[in-house]
């Protein structure tokens, strides 16, 4: 992570907002049913902050993460990412923001099985102007960051779950985004592997001031973050 936000920000210093949600609602409509997935969510995540989102299944955690990650648009309310109002962004601008300012880590890794580790990590860089050589160097640096340089030519099927998640983290950080969104990153891992992954995320947050929003079911992991947002039936309860 060598972005302008790379210098650690002291925790007690006032910081600018990375994410701001104001009265955000998300309603899914079909011909017959209207489902309120999120209701009146207000959230302010500062740059360099590491927060967790908790809640039972169906409470709207992933929907909230999708909205923050500009993968979806809210039904009402406003979302600002690094000060830019999402409602005013075209699809192309949203794609660029996802590419340059946001990194995603998924529970099921979402690696492309037909690409080897380094090619998987390079993937976000394909959608911005960079040469093949630059891409390779950046991907190797990201893999070094997660301690996986020895497995660069391996395919996902040849890796353990923890290694796959480390590849996914390398892919998320390869483009130096300021914000990392992790959707249950340890959900498919045993406790030891989960601990390793959590360590990497903490390190990214502390050493490089990455803003991290992590969805988790694990209370212990949530306690390791700066604060926890709790959702229930689409509503923010804390």
């Amino acid at each position: 992570m060598t972005s302008p936000a790379a210098q650690p920000i002291p925790k007690n210093q006032p910081r600018a907002s990375a994410i701001q949600l104001d009265e955000v609602n998300k309603v899914y409509r079909t011909d017959r049913i209207e489902t309120l997935a999120l209701s009146k969510i207000d959230l302010d995540v500062q740059k360099g902050e590491f927060i967790s989102i908790m809640g039972p299944s169906g409470s709207g955690k992933s929907t909230l993460l999708n909205l923050i990650g500009l993968l979806d648009r809210p039904s009402s309310g406003s979302i600002l990412v690094n000060g830019k109002p999402a409602a005013e962004l075209s699809d192309r601008s949203m794609a660029r923001m996802r590419n340059e300012e946001i990194g995603f880590i998924f529970q099921t890794f979402h690696l492309i099985p037909d690409l080897n580790v380094v090619d998987n990590v390079e993937l976000p860089l394909l959608y911005r102007r960079s040469s093949g050589n630059e891409r390779r160097l950046m991907a190797e640096a990201a893999l070094r960051r997660v301690g996986l340089t020895a497995r660069m030519r391996h395919f996902p099927s040849q890796l353990s779950g923890g290694q796959r998640q480390r590849v996914a983290i390398a892919r998320a950080i390869v483009g130096n985004p300021g914000i990392l969104l992790a959707d249950e990153p340890t959900g498919n891992l045993d406790s030891q592997m989960g601990d390793e992954i959590m360590g990497i995320l903490e390190d990214l947050n502390q050493a490089e001031s990455a803003t991290i929003i992590m969805v988790t079911h694990d209370q212990k992991l949530a306690e390791r973050t700066e604060r926890t947002v709790r959702l229930f039936d689409g509503r923010q309860v804390s």
């Binding site: 993968l71 996802r98 099921t108 492309i112 690409l115 976000p124 959608y127």
Partner: protein
């Protein structure tokens, strides 16, 4: 990005084998259809070498008891001379000549001999009167045309087409040369009773008896004797140049005048232009049927390709959603699908070209010039890419519409 696309295609070679096969079949069908089309187009563009407007074909059918009986042969020749004179006597007739090789007619008279390498050389053998040059509007490009009296010379003067000259003598001028008479071992044949040495006296550019769509035959003209029973036979056909505007009524008039001279003979008259229309119609029919079948085949292959691509996009929903999440625009996702399709097409085209061009390289269809195959392959190359892009439009449009939030939900 190109390297990434090629890598994906290569790494998925097993799962894309079916699509690759579809593309290979499409390309080979296109190569075949276009090469056949190029072959006939190339033939069509060659000059005919003769004029068929205001030229009529007259067929004579006569009873023969014993073809080798000199008395009967002499009698038939005498009647043929009268028939010839009668044809010429009509004011509507400009000029006429006997010939066994009437353009666009089904039958032909050929001569064959072996070449030094043991292959058989065949050429149209037209025994004619010198006037046929005027009937057809033939142009002599080298040497001279046939003359009265040529038929009696010891070395039979022969006028050949340029391609026939090349077949026997390469790039040398054939004038004054004798058409070799060899056996299958390439050795000169022993003297034959009725054989006369054929000495080339002239060259015409081309004479495509079977018309525009057929390949050029090698052809030779020699003077026919209607006087000498030893060297002449009663002709079975004539070509007649009539005055422009001569109506079909003259056909009846001509036949009845000939019937008076030879009551036991029967005659048929037909304008060569009519024979040409019929011949073209008959030649085009299998081509049209073949082209229709090929078009349906390509349509089927195209629909199959759309189906496979559709399935491919459906199976890759999660990957496409991931690409969108990582920053790909919907256009980039469409570009990914079409790019992979074009990469696969390039592989199929490369393999298909290698296979298809073996036909000319291994001389499988030697009568078709190699440039036809290369031209057909090139044209197929130009067509296959727009074809697969059209097939890929709908599946790639579906890929564009993949919503990342939904796609990434599926486990």
């Amino acid at each position: 990005m190109i390297r990434h696309v090629m890598r994906i295609v290569w790494n998925r070679k097993r799962s894309t084998a079916l699509m690759m096969t579809e593309l290979l079949i499409s390309f080979l069908v296109l190569c075949t259809v276009l090469s056949i089309g190029a072959y006939y187009l190339d033939n069509w563009r060659q000059p005919l070498g003769f004029d068929y407007e205001d030229v009529w074909s007259l067929s004579a059918f006569y009873p023969v008891a014993n073809r080798n009986d000199p008395v009967e042969r002499a009698a038939l020749l005498a009647t043929s001379r009268q028939v010839m004179n009668s044809i010429r006597s009509h004011s509507e007739v400009v000029v006429a000549s006997p010939t066994a090789n009437v353009p666009y007619s089904g039958g032909s008279n050929n001569w064959g001999t072996f070449l030094p390498d043991g292959t058989m050389a065949r050429y149209l053998w037209s025994e004619v009167r010198p006037e046929i040059k005027e009937v057809y509007g033939l142009e002599v490009v080298e040497g001279r045309w046939l003359e009265d009296g040529d038929e009696s010379l010891a070395d039979l003067p022969i006028v050949i087409t340029r391609s026939m000259g090349r077949m026997f003598f390469g790039e040398e001028s054939p004038l004054g040369k004798i058409i070799p008479r060899l056996d299958e071992t390439g050795a000169p044949r022993e003297a034959e009773k009725y054989y006369h040495v054929q000495r080339v006296v002239g060259v015409v550019e081309i004479f495509r008896k079977s018309g525009e769509l057929a390949q050029e035959p090698h052809a030779a003209f020699v003077a026919r004797s209607l006087d000498d029973p030893e060297r002449g036979r009663a002709p079975g056909g004539y070509v007649v140049r009539v005055e422009p505007g001569t109506t079909a009524a003259f056909e009846e008039q001509l036949i009845s005048s000939l019937q008076q001279i030879a009551p036991e003979w029967s005659f048929e008259v037909e304008p060569v232009a009519t024979m040409r229309s019929r011949s073209l119609r008959n030649s085009m029919m299998p081509l049209v049927i073949g082209a229709t079948v090929a078009a349906f085949l390509i349509l089927m292959v195209g629909m199959g390709l759309v189906g496979i691509l559709w399935q491919n996009v459906t199976q890759r929903t999660q990957e496409l959603g991931l690409r969108r999440a990582l920053g790909a625009t919907s256009g980039a996702v469409q570009g990914q699908i079409l790019g992979e399709l074009l990469a696969l097409t390039t592989l199929a085209v490369g393999l298909g070209s290698l296979l298809f061009l073996q036909v000319p390289l291994l001389h499988f269809l030697d009568f078709v010039p190699g440039r036809i195959f290369f031209g057909g392959t090139f044209a197929a190359l130009l067509l296959i890419y727009p074809f697969v892009l059209i097939c890929g439009l709908y599946p790639s449009w579906l890929a564009m519409r993949v919503q990342p939030a939904q796609a990434l939900q599926y486990e």
